[in-house]
């Protein structure tokens, strides 16, 4: 049986990337953070609140409220509403769903929002209630949160590929360089390889700078028709192609890939582009090993440790600009908002509006994401190729 061709994303515009700078400790609830994003989307787009008729929200800490609650909280009257509980993978997935809603005419303007309030005790509480498999099969073994499964994945990856801590450190050091140019980065000091290697162990082989800092923050963007974006003189990006996969390669004893290889060829073919055409890679970076898996799974290299040794990963290094905003390793991880960080940065890059280092001639770039460690591996993978659209 031949698979039906996937419909393209023609006519869809992605615009107005918004980042509310993260803080270590927040005195506000999650709806406040989401409301700050929504207000910025309205203010920066010139699109009135009443014209937003679609909403999709990614958050772990919104409970007991949900996306429905927010319609009343913010006084929005909606005809399309989605509650996305996919953590780190949520950015490209929210974008795909919103884009299809706009193409189908189910909504005119969709606000895609993500926020979480995590820091201190809130992070422990989230981990305790994360999933039944985590409660029964992971947390009793050290109560180390996500550090435990990712330590196990990292150890296996290092033993299988020969990757060293220095290889992992290349990613962290380059991203910190990128992050220093961001006015809102949580980490404001340079990171040297010596400092990376000398950091205290957290869950070996993971050490301090391999782990993202839980924090509070929020991200968002708008999805609408190109015609709508043009009428408002909004700079926008186009979606060349996109994918999502869940619970792939479940027979692998220890996770060695997300779902990206299953869709890699289709993703590039639909875009008419290859990995070499990507001006940047915004890769999900909860831990550097997951960046390695994306470099391999998305066709940048069959040997990611060798690739990171040989390739400049800084945004201005002339190699492969990786996580040009500094990524979560520099900005902190505000729960599900971490799943939007690569996407908002990718949107800024292809519209030529980076807050930090702008990659020259960023015609197209790849944003990939990953998340939701239910038991011993992340179950959700997603990716989107963005290209330069209108300039407003």
């Amino acid at each position: 049986m031949t698979a039906r061709p996937v419909q393209d994303y023609a006519g869809v515009a992605v615009a107005v990337p918004v980042t509310i700078p993260s803080v270590r400790r927040s005195e506000h609830g999650t709806p406040w953070w989401l409301g700050k994003v929504l207000a910025a989307l309205v203010r920066e787009s010139g699109i009135a609140k009443d014209e937003i008729d679609g909403l999709i929200v990614a958050s772990y800490t919104l409970r007991p409220d949900n996306a429905v609650s927010l319609s009343e909280y913010f006084g929005l009257s909606l005809r399309w509403l989605d509650d996305l509980n996919m953590g780190g993978a949520s950015g490209p997935i929210a974008l795909r769903r919103a884009a299809r809603a706009v193409q189908a005419g189910d909504a005119e303007v969709v606000a895609c929002l993500a926020a979480d309030v995590l820091g201190g005790a809130a992070f422990g509480a989230l981990m305790e209630g994360y999933s039944s498999f985590s409660r029964d099969g992971v947390m009793p073994y050290g109560a180390a949160g996500p550090n435990l499964p990712f330590a196990l994945i990292t150890r296996r990856y290092m033993e299988r590929t020969g990757a060293t801590r220095e290889d992992m450190g290349q990613i962290c050091v380059a991203q910190r360089h990128n992050g220093l140019a961001q006015p809102h980065a949580l980490f404001k000091k340079p990171l040297t390889m010596d400092e990376y290697l000398a950091a205290r162990p957290v869950a070996e082989p993971l050490h301090l700078y391999d782990c993202v800092m839980p924090c509070s923050g929020a991200e968002g963007f708008l999805v609408m028709s190109e015609a709508r974006a043009r009428s408002g003189n909004l700079p926008f990006a186009r979606i060349k192609s996109a994918m999502e996969r869940h619970n792939t390669y479940s027979q692998d004893d220890v996770q060695r890939s997300g779902g990206w290889p299953l869709d890699r060829d289709a993703l590039y073919n639909a875009a008419g582009l290859g990995p070499g055409d990507m001006a940047f890679l915004q890769a999900y970076d909860d831990y550097p090993v997951i960046v390695m898996l994306q470099l391999e799974g998305l066709g940048f290299s069959e040997n990611a440790p060798a690739f990171v040794r040989e390739t400049a990963l800084t945004a201005d290094g002339g190699g492969l600009p990786l996580n040009t905003s500094g990524g979560q390793l520099s900005l902190g991880q505000a729960g599900a908002a971490g799943g939007f960080v690569g996407l908002t940065e990718g949107l800024r890059q292809v519209t030529g509006r980076a807050r930090g280092i702008q990659v020259p001639n960023a015609q197209a770039g790849l944003v990939s994401a990953y998340g939701t460690v239910n038991f011993d591996r992340g179950l959700c993978s997603s990716a989107v190729i963005l290209s330069k659209g209108g300039q407003g």
């Binding site: 039944s132 029964d136 099969g137 050290g142 949160g145 435990l148 196990l152 296996r156 205290r200 869950a203």
Partner: protein, 114 residues
């Protein structure tokens, strides 16, 4: 750490075990699922030494040695390494025991010599 008989959730319809526990079998989507004695022999796939814990009860016992173990019956579990670090590939026996803070937990130990 005290060892008890090792049991896994077991599907009465297709006779296969699984982990973590479910009420519906992930292999055949049938039921009932009953806990049945299982062979705890397996192989260490990956290990970690935990230095940071969210649990007040476990914190005094840091660092902790934890492994992913592939049991010979095909089931993958996370377990404490009771006798300290083990290399990947090492043979172990998983039993139902307790964590260093006394909570129920799976514990992997090297097989008895000979």
């Amino acid at each position: 750490m005290t060892a008890r008989a090792f049991e896994l959730p077991h599907c009465e319809a297709c006779q296969r075990p699984h982990w973590p526990p479910r009420e519906i079998c992930p292999h055949c989507l049938d039921e009932p699922i009953h806990w049945r004695q299982a062979d705890g022999a397996g192989q260490v796939l990956s290990t970690t030494m935990v230095h940071h814990s969210l649990s007040d009860e476990l914190r005094p016992h840091l660092p902790l040695h934890v492994a992913t173990v592939k049991l010979d019956c095909g089931v993958r579990v996370i377990a404490y390494l009771a006798d300290g670090p083990q290399p990947s590939g090492a043979r172990v026996i998983v039993t139902a025991g307790s964590s260093p803070s006394g909570q129920e937990a799976l514990v992997a130990t090297p097989p008895a010599p000979g």
